[in-house]
Symmetry: C2
Subunit: 257 residues, 2 copies
């Protein structure tokens, strides 16, 4: 009898810490030549079907007009056979508690992160994803907030969040909409690479994965696959930045950063 | 005798609140086809000479390598006949106290603002400029921190400052390196105009003056002249944005925002 309890205890201990991580981070929701989210259809559908998800909870806080945002996002999800409801029409904490999967859309990363903190949703989302394996899909700002911090967002700091720490679903940072410097530009603002270098001059900085438009990071347990129609560029501290191609695995990024 | 005291009292009261504001905000320090700060030579020299300044205090906190930064900035100032010393080689508060004029260079706005707060320099600089008329020259990040807030910087939030409130030398916000959307771009990141619109959706937001590279704002007392080789674009809440040309005056922006 004692032995059974010990086995059950160990089972739950292992089960709890080994819950499948199901995180899909898109660089953007729009891609030139595609309908909204269309380029990510296969990855999104596969992730949701694999986890037997029928209902997706949408988090529209990165944009101001939540109703309008929901209308736009409903189309692709319904077309692919999923129901979608928005957190802004529900009691937010309860909605997260009951969620089968969440999709956080793009917009302004500061506004999104501040709202998640204001509504005390950061910890509940983190637990659902990391301890219960709830599928998480993020696009642009929704991908930024999923990482270690938003220190490498491109967005304008239109509001002041209580911290720049993100959901921590992965231990590194990303830079969505990553774009290479235009060698013909005469504009003297910093290039994207300059900006990421400046971040990595700081002691607290982490590895940054720049993801080009149309790139996706598919994180399943402890594997990280680069997916989509474009790759990324990896910035590790003290190393030369390097391109990462679609189809490559960057599992080491999940270990620490 | 009593009357003399009253006159002296009134004189100092008026003198104190009427101290000349001498603020020159450059969109950038570099401009295509010009040496560092060269495009601003006339404005900078005129401002410093008018105020009989011989020694300029340089504030290099927006970049990591302060020695290197000083070396680059020394050249133009020395060429124009001014001595320049950097705050990073001195006791910062004393240096501000003794400064005849300050120049804050560009780099990362978050890093600059955080350092100013960490070293408790925000209030001393504000007082020297607004109450004692000390000339203030800012470029890019150095212009951003001079305004109401840094909510409209383009920079990456590489560090977390204790607030986004700036020095408040003017009551509005600016967006340096302002650039119009490229109509041929297929990139789906927000345009500069989109970002400023997002800021102005927020309740706390202010008027934003986008200043193109090569644009300068020359603020003398209660006049604001648009100077330089390029103009700007003005975003007032609830109004259509509009271009402002070199040579125009925007004194109303100094009244409130």
């Amino acid at each position: 009898m004692k032995l059974i309890f010990i086995f059950v205890f160990i089972y739950f201990l292992v089960f709890d810490t080994m819950a499948t991580r199901n995180v899909l981070l898109l660089s953007s929701s729009k891609l030139h030549g595609f309908e909204l989210l269309e380029f990510a259809e296969n990855e999104i559908s596969e992730l949701l079907n694999r986890n037997k998800v029928e209902n997706v909870l949408f988090i529209p806080y990165a944009l101001k007009d939540h109703d309008e945002y929901l209308k736009n996002v409903e189309k692709p999800f319904k077309k692919w056979g999923f129901n979608i409801s928005s957190i802004h029409t529900q009691e937010p904490l309860l909605a997260i508690k009951d969620a089968e999967a969440i999709f956080i859309g793009g917009g302004n990363t500061f506004r999104l992160l501040k709202t998640l903190y204001d509504l005390k949703l950061v910890e509940p989302i983190r637990k659902k994803v990391l301890q219960q394996g709830m599928p998480y899909i993020g696009a642009s700002a929704g991908s930024n907030v999923a990482t270690a911090s938003i220190h490498t967002t491109n967005d304008m700091p239109i509001v002041y969040p209580p911290t720049f720490e993100g959901l921590g679903l992965v231990p590194f940072n990303i830079n969505p909409h990553y774009i290479d410097a235009d060698p013909n530009s005469t504009h003297k603002g910093e290039t994207r690479e300059d900006r990421i270098r400046q971040y990595q001059e700081e002691d607290h900085s982490k590895t940054v994965l720049g993801i080009r438009e149309g790139c996706m990071l598919n994180i399943k347990d402890n594997t990280l696959a680069v997916k989509g129609v474009n790759g990324g560029r990896l910035f590790e501290k003290g190393k030369e930045p390097r391109d990462v191609n679609v189809g490559s695995f960057l599992n080491f990024l999940l270990e620490s950063s």
